[in-house]
């Protein structure tokens, strides 16, 4: 490689090229930011309830068992489309009732079955969480997941 280029050339290519790609990435980030806000998540308003629901989701580290839009742990089902799977994505009240029923039935204690812990949430927190999951479900994720199984 000595003949092809010197160390100084290699260093300059590294610096110059990296700055070039960082600038492209920043430009695309700005565009993607606007696209998310104005297009892909614009279908449903981001209400205070949705924001609080996201906090409920984070406080209990749900992501360390479940996946959300395919990201997270792989120990429990995908929840980015759980409201579609339950058939309640257009019915917030039903979504709340179904989620409440589910959360309050845990843990099942069935031997050999993965256990979801019992999270002691208030009705308002469960409603916020349901609204958050509905909001996430309505995000334009380019057709992912391939089917309702998530």
């Amino acid at each position: 490689m000595r003949e092809v280029m010197t160390k100084a050339m290699a260093r300059n290519i590294f610096y110059g090229g990296s700055i070039f790609f960082i600038l492209i990435f920043l430009g695309l980030t700005i565009h993607s930011h606007l696209y998310i806000v104005n297009t892909s998540t614009a279908a449903t308003p981001l209400t205070d309830s949705v924001a609080r629901g996201k906090r409920v989701w984070e406080r209990h580290a749900c992501i360390n068992c479940h996946t959300l839009h395919g990201e997270g742990a792989y120990f429990a089902p995908e929840v980015g489309n759980v409201m579609t799977r339950w058939g309640v994505v257009e019915k917030p009240d039903d979504a709340f009732e179904t989620l409440k029923g589910w959360i309050e039935a845990q843990p099942t204690g069935i031997a050999g079955r993965r256990q979801m812990p019992r999270f002691h949430l208030t009705d308002e927190e469960i409603r916020d969480l349901a609204n958050f999951l509905i909001w996430a479900d309505k995000t334009d994720t380019k057709g992912w997941p391939p089917n309702d199984a998530g």
């Binding site: 790609f21 360390n64 079955r113 812990p117 380019k142």
Partner: protein, 457 residues
């Protein structure tokens, strides 16, 4: 040890190895919960075990990088570390933060508190006060090593190492930005996660590897450093836009499917180059360095990183493939071998190289150390294979046939059982490694009469 302040690395490596054992033990427990799901389910649920597993991994790898910097930089810059006191204070802050994290997770203290409670975004679950502590420690570290490098000799190795470490700190700042919009949250979350492990961490890896090659093979510095710049150039040229492979399905624009597919496919290149680099240097090198275990780990890290990060990454990175495999056990398989190959093995390589020097003794107990390499690597390779099979079956049943998640999981139990067995081998290997580094007072198996060793460097 040429410089007194290199001794700082000893403390960092020691804490890192303790956390390494904690990390793999946590992994083993998580693997057992897959086999027997009722284990501890009401005392320490799976999500808590997993947080401990992933967080302790990241912390010990970073401690290893910090320690490596304190070990490498005095020799490269040809002067003592600016302030050893500051370096120990930095370690104390990180240890305190780590202890705080463990207690907070285990007992779920201050749930919901913005400052003290956990912040449950994946890998960034640390409470806010710990994140602030990490930034303070990072600033102390960067100040300390930058002052050392600026006052001393500047080499390509310190240069790239410094850029990598500054990058780690800068991208971590995105951990403080958590918008209410989930898709925005995810997009900037990858600024920390992807631009760390597929960006600036590769710079740290390549520079430490270059240092090891320089010492172990005796190849001319000019050649090593030119390789280094070429390798890190390909890392960033591919890795920055390669972030796009995380932007397929989270609400980001469709053009990422093309940008992500193309650039992340090219992310194989830096790992391939690192592998070629290490083998060419060893082939060309004239030095017969006595620390054979360090050489084994150095070649091992580039080979396993090429397969784990490179090949296994490419396997599911094209968007047409990823549409079906995203978020399955395929991802878990790739994640395990990539982290083990690239960053765990690299850290163990520099530990293996540095410890005899830090303890001022010959590099003995080589046989035990090399056995631990094969035990851990074998275990991790087996784990990667069985998780890949599990992921293949899962992808077909769940993503193609549309079967319900838990029904599919029930059919994967044989793979999870084998994964647990592989995990046992990894944990045994890790314990053996720590033992081989710290305990024996003489070589366990005497070398044969023909083994001619040149003096240690």
């Amino acid at each position: 040890m040429k410089y007194e302040s290199q001794k700082i690395a000893y403390a960092y490596f020691l804490v890192a190895m303790i956390l390494f054992v904690v990390q793999v033990s946590g992994g083993l427990l998580a693997g057992w919960i897959y086999v027997s799901p009722n284990t501890l389910s009401e005392i320490v649920p799976f999500n808590v075990v997993r947080m401990l597993h992933t967080n302790s991994l990241v912390v010990w790898l970073l401690l290893g990088f910090f320690g490596a910097a304190y070990f490498v930089i005095p020799e490269e810059a040809e002067r003592e570390i600016h302030s050893p006191k500051l370096a120990y204070l930095q370690l104390a802050i990180l240890v305190l933060g780590t202890a705080g994290v463990v207690v907070t997770y285990l007992f779920d203290l201050f749930n919901g508190n913005l400052l003290l409670g956990k912040d449950g975004r994946e890998f960034l679950e640390q409470p806010l006060w710990v994140k602030v502590g990490i930034v303070v420690a990072a600033l102390m570290f960067l100040y300390n090593i930058s002052m050392t490098v600026l006052a001393g000799r500047k080499t390509a190795i310190t240069n790239v190492l410094l850029i990598g470490l500054w990058g780690i700190a800068i991208f971590f700042l995105f951990a403080f930005y958590n918008p209410h919009n989930l898709s925005l949250d995810k997009m900037y979350w990858w600024y920390v996660v992807h631009l760390w492990v597929e960006g600036v961490w590769e710079l740290v890896m390549a520079s430490i590897l270059a240092y090891l090659m320089l010492k172990l093979t005796g190849v001319d510095r000019e050649i090593v450093e030119k390789w280094l710049y070429v390798i890190v150039a390909t890392s960033l040229f591919t890795g920055i836009l390669g972030t796009g492979h995380h932007y397929y399905w989270i609400g980001t624009p469709g053009y990422w499917q093309w940008i992500g597919s193309i650039f992340s496919s090219l992310e194989v290149i830096p790992f391939f180059l690192m592998m070629v680099f290490s083998f060419v240097m060893v082939w060309k090198g004239s030095r017969d360095h006595p620390n054979k275990a360090a050489l084994l780990w150095s070649l091992g890290t580039t080979t396993l990183a090429f397969f784990g990060a490179g090949v296994w990454g490419f396997m599911h990175t094209l968007h047409g493939v990823n549409y079906y495999t995203h978020g399955t056990q395929i991802t878990a398989a790739h994640g395990h071998l990539a982290f083990f190959g690239a960053y765990v093995s690299l850290n163990l390589a520099i530990f293996t190289y540095a410890f005899p020097i830090l303890k001022n003794r010959d590099p003995y107990n080589q046989v035990l150390n090399m056995s631990s390499f094969w035990l851990m690597s074998g275990g991790m390779a087996f784990m990667t294979f069985v998780l890949t099979f599990a992921g293949t079956v899962q992808t077909h049943l769940q993503r193609v046939m549309g079967q319900n998640y838990m029904e599919v999981q029930d059919q994967l139990s044989i793979f999870y059982l084998m994964r647990f067995g592989a995990g046992v081998a990894v944990v045994l290997g890790a314990v053996l490694f720590v033992f081989a580094i710290l305990v024996p007072k003489r070589e366990v198996v005497a070398p044969g009469p023909d083994a001619k060793l040149s003096p240690a460097e």
